[in-house]
């Protein structure tokens, strides 16, 4: 892959990374445990959102399987990072040949992500032909299949029970640095030849095919890369939260990540970053209100689900009034560079306009 050397090309990821760096330093300076935890989770979520953006934003296909690959990444990285003694305690039914396997934290997360990417690459190829509702149902089916396997394969995952005893490795800076690298990778992918071709198939499948773009191969590469990033996020998350069960990787988490991406704007990397930061802030504010109401016992039975109710209303409002999300298909630019080049999104009609004509 040829990486451009023009400075302008890097202005978008540079601004985004700078913004994230400021957030990370801010969290470090405030140094309140809760704030640091929120920031760490935000960076991990951003890795997941960027992974989803990489596939969904560029291909225009909604994928539900993403969080499934996060789960695969979490469980497989843990299998490598735990010490043999800890494994025997935490996963009593583990296959004996897996017990002595032990790798450092970084290698574990990477191997876990490679395993997830391999699984994604093998199973997804025939599915990439599908579009629209069929594609959505297949990815949803994938999520259900991964979920069922994680819940019941107790020789690997300890079954539906919580898996304890994972060592804590992911601190604020680990997640922040991986997240910044991911921003850069997601942007590079979008602007790469594969990314450009994939976006062409999204905007006009027939025109893209007529100039020889193989839709299936482009989507397949993006899907595999997206699963890799999801699994990196999962691996980091596992070593942050240190005890978890398969139920963490299902529809609730899917909703959160999807809401972040759609509210921010699925068609740009900037949208993924903005959406994650905005939704995290709103969520934490709502959650502290919820906690306050629960502690003060304003309602006798307690308040549950308030945060999600508001979040889903916001999501619907965004889809109704600003379907491209906060950012649309724009990227943030250095003002000086941004003015000269015409935004490519202004030249081509947006995906919504094209697809909107197809039905109704």
């Amino acid at each position: 892959m040829k990486i451009p050397v023009r400075l302008k090309f890097y202005s978008t990821p540079a601004i985004l990374v700078l913004a994230l760096l400021i957030l990370a330093i801010g969290a470090e300076l405030v140094n309140i445990t809760l704030i640091v935890r929120i920031a760490t989770v935000m960076f991990i979520n951003l890795i997941l959102v960027l992974g989803l953006q990489l596939f969904m934003g560029n291909s225009g296909i909604l994928s539900f399987a993403h969080i499934g690959f996060m789960g695969i990444g979490a469980y497989s990285s843990v299998l490598f990072s735990m010490t043999p003694e800890a494994k025997q305690l935490s996963i009593p039914n583990l296959y004996p040949f897996l017990i002595p396997v032990h790798l450092p934290f970084w290698a574990s997360v990477l191997v876990g992500a490679l395993i997830a990417a391999l699984i994604a690459a093998v199973i997804s190829y025939p599915l990439m032909r599908l579009s629209d509702a069929a594609a959505v149902i297949t990815t949803f089916a994938l999520l259900v299949i991964i979920h069922v396997v994680l819940v019941h394969w107790d020789r690997i995952t300890n079954g539906p029970r919580t898996l304890f005893g994972v060592d804590f490795y992911t601190d604020l800076w680990t997640s922040a640095i991986v997240c910044m690298v991911t921003v850069f990778l997601a942007y590079l992918f979008k602007e790469s030849r594969v990314g450009l071709r994939l976006r062409a198939t999204r905007d006009d499948a027939y025109a893209a095919a007529s100039i020889g773009i193989n839709k299936v191969v482009m989507r397949w590469m993006a899907f595999t890369a997206s699963a890799f990033l999801a699994a990196i996020g999962g691996g980091l998350w596992a070593h942050f939260i240190t005890s978890f069960s398969p139920y963490a990787f299902y529809l609730t988490e899917t909703f959160v990540v999807l809401a972040m991406l759609v509210i921010g704007g699925p068609y740009s990397v900037s949208g993924a970053v903005v959406g994650t930061v905005v939704v995290t802030s709103v969520r934490e504010i709502l959650r502290s209100i919820e906690n306050y109401l629960n502690i003060a016992k304003v309602f006798p039975q307690g308040v549950f689900g308030f945060t999600e109710v508001i979040l889903s209303i916001v999501l619907i409002l965004i889809l109704v009034f600003q379907p491209g999300g906060i950012m649309g298909s724009r990227e943030v630019h250095w003002p000086r560079f941004g003015r000269k080049e015409k935004d490519s999104s202004e030249l081509t009609p947006s995906v919504d306009e094209i697809q909107g004509e197809e039905h109704v």
């Binding site: 509702a133 689900g305 209303i313 619907i316 889809l319 197809e358």
Partner: protein, 297 residues
């Protein structure tokens, strides 16, 4: 193994699943929307049962009728508030909206009622059974079969004999053409959502009837069943939905019998692998619609 009990089980499960799938397909046929919020309509029906049986002296039949009405109204309301404004936008936007509506309704139940399961008082007939030819047959199963078949007949009559039904079928075949011929889009779509809500409401009676309790997440399993049944039968055909419902019931029962015990818990995964295989190799399902319009994409 294949005895009367087995047959009645298949018939009652199959007719229940057929209704489930019909409620999903009738919307899919017209809007190409896979409605993730469909399961929550069943949950709403369940909570209506819980509230009315627990806090009012109304007779059970009236309560059951009201549960179906409430479920129908919820379905209409979600269409009006959430789906109508995004209808002209992309398909993805519509799908995410339905996912958001599903989360919204689920968490609203969590917020307003409780995260914990609520017991629903059922009429005694749901626990009783009758001896037929030497086997114990629960009344519940017979009721399910009778009510489902009645609903299927009513729906068929509606679709074949009324102007609305003809408009609905025409819209399912080719929505754009139907609109050009002067059929109002909003009426057709609202009717489809109403029928979907009624189906969900009726299903909720028997779904809740099996567990006698309701939780905010009770909508997820029936939604998954409806997905599988719809894909098996054919997403564009109402007949396909009914066939898919019965095929699902037969398959899940046979898997239950023939799968070795250590694989039994993966039964659901096998069903969804089957879904993917169908979508890849025979996306039109078992019953091919005569006039399926390919979506470009």
């Amino acid at each position: 193994m294949i005895n009367l009990e087995f047959v009645i089980n298949i018939l009652s499960l199959g007719s229940l699943y057929a209704m489930l799938a019909l409620g999903l397909v009738i919307i899919y046929g017209i809007l190409k929307l896979v409605n993730f919020a469909y399961g929550e309509l069943i949950m709403i029906g369940g909570y209506t049962l819980y509230l009315l049986t627990g806090f009012t002296p109304l007779p059970w039949l009236v309560i059951a009728f009201l549960a179906v009405i409430v479920s129908m109204c919820t379905s209409l309301l979600t269409e009006l508030v959430a789906f109508r404004p995004v209808r002209t936008k992309s398909l993805t936007a519509m799908l995410i909206t339905s996912f958001a509506v599903s989360t919204l309704l689920q968490n609203a139940a969590l917020l307003i009622i409780s995260p914990r399961a609520r017991a629903v008082t059922l009429p005694r007939i749901f626990q009783q059974s009758i001896m037929i030819a030497g086997t114990d047959v629960p009344w519940r199963n017979i009721l399910t079969i009778v009510v489902s078949l009645t609903m299927l007949v009513l729906l068929t009559l509606l679709l074949k004999r009324t102007v609305l039904g003809i408009a609905l079928r025409a819209a399912a075949d080719n929505f754009r053409m139907t609109r050009m011929l002067g059929v109002p889009a909003n009426t057709v779509i609202s009717s489809a959502f109403a029928i979907s809500g009624i189906m969900a409401g009726v299903v909720s009676l028997f779904w809740i009837g099996r567990s006698a309790s309701v939780t905010p997440t009770i909508g997820a399993p029936p939604l998954l069943v409806a997905f599988v049944a719809t894909v098996i039968g054919g997403m564009n055909s109402l007949t396909g939905a009914v066939v898919g419902g019965f095929v699902y019931a037969i398959m899940i029962s046979l898997l239950g019998i023939f799968l070795p015990p250590e694989l039994l818990e993966f039964r659901e995964a096998f069903m969804f692998i089957f879904v993917i295989v169908i979508l890849v190799f025979r996306p039109e399902g078992l019953i091919r619609s005569k006039t399926t319009v390919e979506r470009i994409g």
